[in-house]
């Protein structure tokens, strides 16, 4: 009988494969954001030619998902696309950068979730869009947050023991963010 019971170490410890899978997911989502930073081009972010970020943001007005959000985009975002464009570009570039190296991953997973909500509210009803693209993006960020994916083959996993031992208040914040 005892021979058929697996060793507790094998039962209780997470498989190395699951950690590696989380790392692959994290890097994949990072590359998603990195690529999205490539087509946000200043200074007008496509306003003059009605393309790029300006075009996709205007889809929130043309094909509304949530009326208050559409009104916000029409009256605040589009007239000030140069300002919002820089904000989106820097935010998405930072999302790609931090998720790539797995640093403060839980914080950036929340940021990524919020940014995906904004994108979803802009383009969910636009023609030829596959709604599950955005649902899957949201779910992927839930997994990155819930599993603290930066601890698997990311810098969070390397740094957390040092942050834990450090008396600095900022280290406690970093522990929460990772």
């Amino acid at each position: 009988m005892t021979g058929s019971i697996p060793a507790s170490r094998d039962v209780m410890q997470p498989a190395r494969l699951s950690g590696a899978s989380l790392a692959v997911l994290r890097v994949g989502i990072a590359v998603l954001w990195i690529q999205n930073a490539s087509w946000k081009i200043p200074p007008d972010f496509g306003a003059e030619a009605n393309r790029g970020l300006f075009f996709w943001a205007s889809q929130a007005v043309e094909f509304p998902v949530l009326a208050p959000y559409s009104a916000f985009v029409e009256t605040v975002v589009l007239p000030n696309i140069a300002v919002f464009g820089w904000g989106v570009l820097l935010l998405e570039a930072a999302l790609g950068a931090f998720l790539l190296i797995g640093l403060t991953t839980r914080f950036w997973a929340i940021v990524g979730f919020a940014q995906t909500i904004a994108i979803t509210l802009s383009v969910l009803n636009a023609p030829h869009e596959w709604h599950w693209s955005y649902y899957l993006m949201l779910l992927a960020h839930v997994v990155l947050f819930g599993t603290a994916a930066g601890r698997s083959y990311g810098l969070d996993g390397v740094f957390r023991p040092v942050w834990y031992e450090s008396p600095a208040r900022f280290s406690k914040i970093l522990l929460r963010a990772s």
Partner: protein
């Protein structure tokens, strides 16, 4: 003494930089495969700084890792100010900036946390 895991992290970041050069091969392909724009002078920058980081990690030279990190961050900032400009020294875009920034922030943070780990170890001895 800096924890060995910090040197390993520097080494892995250097290897990641060199591996990212594979994206130079996707130039000209559809965006389905051309995920990160690594082209022009950014190829040389990533190759050189990536090798510097690998040497820093393998030989346990944290200052060299910091130099590579500062180099990556500097190049990311250079790419940032040249986004949308006709003159683009590194030949990249927002994706190049994000990649360079991530590698640079990673290497600099490894140096910073490595220093902190050394202080903690010394403080507890």
């Amino acid at each position: 003494m800096i924890a060995p895991s910090m040197h390993r992290a520097t080494l892995v970041l250097g290897i990641a930089a060199v591996v990212s050069l594979l994206f130079a091969l996707t130039e000209g392909l559809e965006q389905t495969f051309n995920l990160i724009h690594v082209r022009g002078a950014s190829i040389a920058v990533i190759a050189v700084l990536g090798v510097v980081a690998i040497v820093a990690g393998a030989r346990r030279l944290p200052v060299l890792g910091l130099i590579a990190g500062i180099g990556f961050v500097g190049c990311a900032l250079l790419q940032l100010v040249q986004l949308g400009q006709a003159f683009n020294l590194l030949g990249g875009d927002g994706s190049t900036m994000s990649l360079l920034g991530g590698l640079g922030i990673g290497l600099v943070s490894v140096w910073l946390v490595g220093r902190a780990s050394a202080h903690i170890v010394e403080g507890t001895q």
